[in-house]
């Protein structure tokens, strides 16, 4: 039993720098992708014709 409960508490983590950096980078990428998609769709719809 003690072994089982110890196993349940096990959580892997990256080194501290990467633990902080990776989620921030992923959020930034997600925001930029949304921005790029808006621009591309706007170009496709002719809202920003100067951009192609």
């Amino acid at each position: 039993m003690p072994n089982k409960s110890k196993k349940l508490q096990t959580k892997r983590e990256y080194p501290p720098f990467w633990e902080k950096f990776i989620p921030v980078a992923l959020i930034v990428i997600a925001v930029i992708v949304v921005f790029l998609l808006i621009v591309i769709i706007s170009v496709a719809l002719g809202i920003f014709p100067f951009m192609r």
């Binding site: 983590e13 080194p15 990467w18 990776i22 989620p23 992923l26 790029l36 621009v39 951009m51 192609r52």
Partner: protein
């Protein structure tokens, strides 16, 4: 001819071709259609860079312009993205999308090489980056192809790399792949941003972003495929 508008795009081209060679060698050794498709995508990236360098050195001519527009503006992102689709999606979906992409690319080739060009818009007098658009193509329905290919390419390549990084991060496994995929996603987004800024008149933004994009994607791929040797200090912490 100067560093910004000639040597930088030639540099991007050289890096892209070198990356393509690495991908083709890896494909030869391990198979995996994604490697072949990424290699083809990087060849397109290299052709686009070469054409921009040629433009900086000698000015446009119709052949170089058409090659640049077809490979650099229309096809590159979509073919790189198709590689990622093969890595992440079911084979049947990936095969279907590849057939669509191939047909679309053939259609794009016919339209770009059959398009009428306005020589007055293929100017060599300004190096603001504003020439790097399809304005010289006066035939209708050619430039409108670009956003569809780029939409597919951006979603597949950047979205795929970011999704992979997120999956590895969530499980806290394979740190090298998480880092590599983040670098690939960032590198793939840079040219799109550079293109936007260059059309807003920021000189050289496109060339810098394409160069950095090629470098980041290359390093990201090497990082993702080279496991980090874990020291006791660096290894995932067990709490």
């Amino acid at each position: 001819m100067n560093f910004m508008n000639t040597f930088l795009p030639f540099g991007s081209s050289l890096i892209s071709f070198a990356f393509a060679v690495v991908l083709f060698i890896r494909f030869w050794q391990r198979r995996g259609l994604h490697l072949l498709l990424w290699g083809i995508g990087m060849i397109f990236y290299g052709i686009g860079g070469f054409c921009e360098g040629y433009f900086g050195a000698f000015g446009w001519n119709p052949l170089i312009f058409r090659l640049w527009y077809l490979f650099g503006a229309i096809l590159v992102a979509a073919w790189l993205g198709q590689g990622t689709v093969y890595l992440l999606a079911k084979k049947t979906w990936a095969h279907g999308l590849l057939i669509l992409l191939t047909l679309g690319s053939i259609y794009g080739l016919i339209r770009v090489f059959g398009a009428e060009l306005d020589p007055n818009l293929m100017t060599t007098s300004l190096h603001t980056g504003s020439e790097m658009s399809g304005h010289a193509i006066v035939s209708t329905g050619v430039r409108s192809l670009t956003p569809f290919f780029n939409l597919y390419g951006t979603v597949a390549l950047v979205g795929g790399a970011a999704y992979s990084a997120w999956i590895f991060w969530k499980k806290r496994v394979l740190l090298h792949r998480t880092i590599g995929n983040i670098m690939i996603a960032l590198g793939a987004m840079l040219p799109a941003f550079g293109g936007t800024f260059s059309r807003m008149g920021i000189s050289g933004a496109l060339y810098i972003s394409e160069f950095l994009g090629a470098v980041l994607m290359f390093i990201g791929f090497i990082r993702a495929t080279s496991p980090i040797e874990e020291t006791e200090e660096d290894s995932p912490i067990q709490i």
